[in-house]
Subunit: 371 residues, 2 copies
């Protein structure tokens, strides 16, 4: 495959996303050009420590002093306690404003290391080497970094753009099936929310994607990164509503994750369930363009990719309460990203609790009838 | 006195500093115009809870829902644990991205509340009502927010500009002497580091300033806010070196504060000592313009304002080690802001440990001769 480079244009904060296959040699140059100083601190997911060690070796070959720490765990890692421990490590290693933080792992590592980089010494540069499909297509691009807090997922965070994103598709070869599927859920999100052409491509490449056919995977990663870059360029701080489209399914997903305690359900799985809820809600509210079969097509695609399309048996009322306290809620009003047709969504705050409860129950939630 | 309004010009992040005397009525309009939503959360220093309560009442009169929390303590408040507790309060009160955080207090409250505002939901607006002279002339303007960490003062932080700064000089009437003097130390810093005319004004108004003569105090607060605004406009992120001039005395000061555990010495007192060390170092290194009597004039002015000009009996070597780990150090090299003449400083990394140790001992530090 051809290597490609996607530029995210953000005035003084522009950066490249490099997409490669098994090209560690290029990494040395990529990092050297983006490291302002002589020290790089690698924060890596323990599950990819072999790959991370290789990256660290290559970066060291670029003339940088390397310090490295590996972490294990899922969403629980994204805590103030973990951030605090990392601040200590950075201070021990005499990190300063010229130090480059390199995050190697999935979205959890990127979010945590990015938050630490955003807040250490009022912000130091960081570079991401995503190792999951989900991180490649979504969380690595756009500068949203965060940790969780008792009251909500990603409640504490910042906008801190990376100085570069280095994607090596070969690392996907060893990604567990479940993680890989979770990435596909976010890929479906791009299609369903903002690009009908991508959605159709996915429908016609279900088997190839499940088989991790390199050509199809590369096409999809490229496609999603370009879409994400374009949205982020127009709405970096998530204020105009454009970036909100990428939260399709996420209000529901965050509620599922919060209620299940971050861990029983992976983010991508929760997003799949969330998109099903959002589409169901749009259908119930009569928002869907007739004749498009949006709900049927989405369910078929998600099922085809082995993603869950039903909620676990959670109480509908509790899910709604959690959603009402989501940080994207405004003055207590829940805002939902709902589809109009494949590839087109809109933001609405006009959702009745009654409709919401009905849809949640349709999708598998439990509880008495709404009020 | 006339009320005045100083604009800090920062593209999309411009804001006003309003300087008034006993004009709480104007506060209602000032806040209403800057609050994007319907909720304001007041984080106030318990030592000014009467004034804060009055402000809260005025803001409530502007039609905003008010929630308020008061905190006691000095630098120890600027901790991750305290930030975490505030995140909980904000979540309890259903703060969202339209919520305005109002910090009422000195630099500690501004730094802490500002850090929480910078990181809650990836950043929400905040407004500062400084109640100490130090906060009025320095820490409230410029968007530097931070908390302390085991390894250093202000180690964890962000750049997060306020949406407005409301200064009511009448609150200084009840400021304890020691706090008032600490503010004067930062005022002297502006004169010594960047404005010889201000320095001369201070020399001729020592008695008026000590007596808190309103006209002199108002002149000085205005003067310093204009200087700070101008520096911040040219170097918002502290990258060009211009803003570094305002750190005159601060590398030494932070080391004194770190070694004494934040508390035995107030920041302003440590800055006074630090300026004396910096001027002494410049003299020893032959950097001072001849005939200016910089060190004599500075010592006389600081003493006249009842500020300390000698270090406490700390070990010189330990002070140096702490300075070497300051977050402004680059790759382990200490950088110092040293005077050339009254009103002119420069940034240098060319300082020998030997000179440094000698000057520290001259200024009161203990320890064997340098190496």
């Amino acid at each position: 495959m051809d290597n490609s480079l996607i530029l995210v244009r953000l005035e003084g904060r522009s950066y490249d996303i490099a997409i490669n296959h098994d090209q560690a040699s290029g990494l040395a140059d990529f990092v050297r050009r983006r490291a302002p100083g002589h020290l790089a601190i690698v924060i890596a997911d323990a599950s990819v420590s072999g790959f991370a060690g290789l990256c660290a070796q290559v970066i060291a070959g670029a003339g940088l002093r390397i310090e490295m720490t590996t972490l294990s765990g899922q969403e629980g890692l994204k805590s103030l306690a973990q951030a605090s421990a990392l601040y200590d490590r950075l201070a021990d290693w005499k990190a300063d404003r010229q130090t480059l933080v390199v995050a190697i792992g999935g979205g959890v590592i990127g979010d945590l290391a990015g938050f630490v980089a955003a807040t250490f010494a009022r912000g130091i540069p960081f570079l991401i080497i995503p190792t999951t499909l989900l991180a490649m297509v979504d969380s690595s691009v756009g500068g949203k970094v965060a940790i969780n807090h008792r009251r909500g997922k990603n409640l504490i965070g910042a906008f801190h753009q990376p100085v570069g994103v280095w994607i090596d598709l070969s690392v996907l070869d060893t990604l567990p099936d479940r993680e890989y599927r979770c990435g596909l859920a976010e890929v479906v999100k791009y299609g369903a929310a903002i690009d009908a052409e991508l959605f159709a491509y996915l429908e016609s490449h279900v088997d190839a994607l499940k088989a991790r056919d390199l050509k199809s995977v590369a096409a999809v990663v490229n496609w999603c990164c370009r879409l994400k870059a374009s949205v982020v360029e127009r709405d970096e701080r998530d204020t105009s509503g454009e970036r909100a489209a990428l939260n399709y399914g996420h209000t529901f997903a965050h509620a599922v994750e919060t209620m299940s305690g971050y861990g029983s359900w992976r983010h991508g799985e929760a997003v799949a369930m969330g998109m099903e809820c959002a589409a169901g809600l749009a259908q119930r509210m009569g928002l869907l363009a007739p004749g498009e079969m949006m709900t049927e097509r989405q369910s078929r695609l998600l099922s085809g990719l082995d993603l869950p399309i039903r909620l676990p048996p959670m109480k509908a009322d509790e899910l709604i309460d959690v959603m009402a306290s989501d940080k994207k809620a405004q003055s207590g009003a829940m805002r939902f990203v709902l589809p109009r047709r494949v590839g087109t969504v809109e933001l609405t705050a006009q959702v009745s609790r009654n409709d919401l409860a009905s849809v949640l129950r349709d999708k598998g939630a439990t509880g008495s009838s709404g009020h």
